[in-house]
Amino acid sequence: MNTTEPTRLTPKQYKSDIKPVWCKGCGDFSVIAAITRGLSQLQLPRENVAFVSGIGCSSRIPAYSAVYGFHGVHGRALPIATGLKLARPELTVLVAGGDGDGFSIGGNHFMHSCRRNVDLTYVVMDNSVYGMTKGQASPTTASDWTGSKLTPEGPGMPPFRPLEIALSAGANFISRATANDPNGMAEQIVEAIRHPGFSLVHVLCPCVTYRPEQQELFKARAHADWQSTTERAEAMHRLADDDGYTTGILYQGDRPAFMPPPEPRATLEQIETEFRI
């Protein structure tokens, strides 16, 4: 029990004492930094935040924060978060994972979470590779990337465009950040948490081990050109021209969030009486 009102919680106080397993230089470090910074900015009580993930290097992130967490199975973080938020609407629920977790095995949940619009904040660490299973192509990998032994000729499919899919499926808040700019990312996370309904923060997040070229590439290419729009058509238009490296908040819609359960209005006894003959 907190008997005295705590002083301001610093970002560090949202970090756990568990040492990350990530490779030195992995972009995921800057994502946990941005998230803890965002939580500190919002001064959310630790116990009222829950952080859900699937499986992958990036999905290890909940354990490194000092809030409640659920590290589930591969691809299923969004449904876990959905159930939690609907059962406990007063909690702030964050979801994190990789591009493989979210767009491949969890692709169906991604689309339907955008549609359902439960008040969740989904941070995807996109490194265009499966880090944890040692470097296979992911849905966002370029079709001619020959760096994986599983697809020596390249995946041969155009990369998945998560923001276009999210917008088409009905996501209400869409933004992109890079791991090189944790401050910008923290700002987006703060706005995403504040936004009612489903929000997607897409993070260009280098895997220094299996895509070492990404670190420099993201730095060189990223350009902060998006100012938030509330017009879907405008957002769609921008995405059509997007080179994949534009950052900022793209779109903020006003679709109402999926509702929590209503107040009880009957008793069990009344309900059972209806079976009587």
């Binding site: 029990m1 907190n2 589930g72 199975v73 059962a87 169906n108 339907h112 209005r265």
Partner: protein, 575 residues
């Protein structure tokens, strides 16, 4: 001859209204104080095709099918050959058919049943907008000696929200059938009902009973994906959960539904999903997550014929293997099964109780024969079982979510509790929840998860046991009704038979069964699966007498008391 039960099959093509007529007849009998059971049999198609309402009315609760049908009333003969096997008839039976639909098909004629022709269609045509199924209801009212006023009242209640002409048409057709029933004489007459005064009675389906049990257990969050024959559980809960402040979400698939309930339960809300075989197969990975992360959830699996899409509309007990063994790794969890429709209420409530007390997923195995049957029963007694989770509520320096305790149950902190923040994990973990690959952590967590199930006191609920004798029938699930009836008849014939119907299928409690088998030297295992799944499970975990035999066969034809009696008889004859 006065009988304690009478069995009637109403058949016809889909759309002829046999299910409506059957369920109205059940209500009419209920008004007269009788009990009853109506099972639906449908072809693989969802609409159209063949359909039959298989009814058994009784002076007391009816928990299973009889050996043969006394009456088959055929509205037409559409595809009767496809399901004639489910409607056994003999020379005592009568078949009522409309001559306009042609001669009695050979599969029915060959049973030797007596034919009575009633022009159902022509009688219906004497009333504006009259329908043959309502004529059939009138015929059956007269044939069974039921009260026409009851039928009128039941039809009026059914059509309360329709216009006067529709009601007049239905009542006219019922009257026409009632008057035309004279030429049939029923092979048996039903004895007066044996109702205990004052006990309220319920009319409901097995799936509704499961829904009611879930509500009694305290379930307030459900996520699921529709699948036959489990969907009616969801339809019931979708209406009633919000009235209790709970919620039902239609998920995008079963992978989502099981994970949604893991999330809601992690948040502290007792949660449930319902599915059938294919859905259970999709859920197994995440059931393992619930086991490792120690999150209570209930999965109601309403079994149908498998594998694959199998026979979605008909019953079988062949998901036992996947329910017990389907999850990868060493994955102790609970598997339960209701022993009757009425028991769907208790077993579901108990399953929620066990899940909450033990922080573990519980799979409960109902089946189509129970789930989609409609029954009239005495209102199930209220049982005070509402498992409370062992919660962690006070701040400690290093909270251990997966603390290794003597009873194996570790106090669980709910989000919102200050100072106890932790991460639930499906990865193997230390007591604090930190991912760990250490042998010692794995060993102690596996031990702990198994120990909590084995040390729990399941009370007398692990099985329903009836009778005594040196022969025992060992069974489970919806086959229990037929087994109990077989034993009862054998007892009347002077053969003492004990029935043990297991409600707790897993974890295995060999000592409990050993106690129940004291004095038993011959066992007949009865189940509705092709590969004898129950027998093999028992053999792996329990000590059975050397003289253990099996009566196992697949669905969808119901296992009947006479075949169980014959199997017991064989066992009895053995040297």
């Amino acid at each position: 001859m006065d009988s304690t039960s009478i069995s009637i099959a109403l058949s016809g093509s889909g759309g002829t209204g046999v299910m409506t007529a059957g369920s109205l007849l059940l209500d009419v009998a209920a008004r007269a104080g009788y009990y009853g059971l109506m099972t639906r049999t449908l072809g693989p198609q969802i609409r159209g095709g063949e359909a039959a309402a298989l009814m058994r009315l009784g002076v007391a609760e009816v928990t299973g099918p009889d050996d043969t049908y006394h009456v088959l009333l055929a509205l037409d003969w559409g595809n009767i050959e496809r399901f004639a096997a489910e409607i056994p008839l003999n020379a005592e039976s009568i078949v009522i058919s409309d001559p306009a639909h042609g001669p009695v098909p050979e599969v029915i004629a060959s049973t030797g049943a007596r034919l009575v022709e009633i022009p159902l269609g022509a009688l219906a045509a004497t009333v504006a907008n009259g329908r043959p199924n309502m004529v059939a209801l009138g015929v059956l009212t007269a044939l069974l000696g039921l009260n026409l006023e009851h039928t009128t009242a039941v039809v009026a209640a059914e059509l309360a929200d329709r216009d006067d002409e529709t009601l007049a048409a239905s009542l006219g057709a019922v009257q026409a059938g009632f008057s035309a029933a004279d030429p049939c004489v029923c092979p048996v007459t039903l004895a007066p009902p044996a109702r205990a005064a004052g006990t309220p009675r319920w009319a409901l389906s097995g799936n509704e009973a499961t829904g009611a049990g879930a509500l009694r257990g305290g379930v307030r969050f459900v996520a699921a994906y529709p699948i036959t024959p489990a969907t009616d559980i969801l339809e019931y809960l979708a209406v009633h959960l919000p009235r209790l402040g709970g919620a039902l979400v239609q998920a995008e698939d079963e992978l989502a539904s099981i994970n949604m309930i893991l999330g809601s339960s992690f948040g502290g809300t007792p949660s449930l999903t319902a599915t059938s075989g294919p859905g259970l197969a999709l859920m197994t990975e995440s059931i393992g997550l619930g086991i490792a992360a120690e999150v209570p959830v209930v999965i109601c699996n309403v079994m149908r014929g498998g594998p694959s899409t199998g026979i979605p509309t008909k019953s079988e007990q062949s998901d036992l293997n996947i329910a017990i063994h389907g999850v990868h790794g060493d994955a102790p969890h609970v598997v339960t099964a209701p022993t009757s429709i009425s028991d769907c209420v208790f077993t579901t409530q108990w399953s929620v109780h066990l899940a909450e007390c033990l922080q573990v997923p519980v799979i409960t195995l109902s089946d189509q024969a129970m789930g989609q049957a409609r029954t009239v029963i005495d209102a199930p007694a209220i049982v005070p079982l509402n498992g409370q989770r062992k919660l962690a509520t006070t701040t400690v320096e290093h909270y251990e979510r997966y603390e290794v305790t003597a009873d194996g149950i570790s106090p669980m902190a709910l989000p919102g509790t200050p100072g106890l923040e932790y991460t639930a994990d499906g990865l193997e973990h230390s007591p604090r929840g930190t991912p760990s690959t250490q042998a010692a952590h794995h060993q102690e967590q596996l031990d702990k998860r198994q120990r909590k199930l084995l040390q729990f006191d399941y009370g007398p609920f692990w099985a329903d046991i009836a009778g005594d004798g040196d022969i025992a029938i060992l069974t489970w699930g919806s086959v229990t009704g037929a087994a109990m009836e077989a034993a009862e008849r054998l007892r009347k014939g002077g053969v003492a038979v004990k029935v043990i119907a297991m409600r707790l299928l897993s974890p295995a409690l060999p000592d409990r069964l050993a106690d129940a088998l004291v004095g038993v030297d011959r066992v007949l295992v009865v189940e509705q699966s092709h590969s004898q799944q129950f027998l093999h499970y028992l053999r792996g975990h329990f000590a059975l007498p050397a003289r253990t035999r099996t009566h196992a066969r697949p669905g969808p034809v119901s296992i009947r008391p006479a075949e169980i009696m014959a199997a017991v008889d064989d066992l009895f004859q053995e040297a």
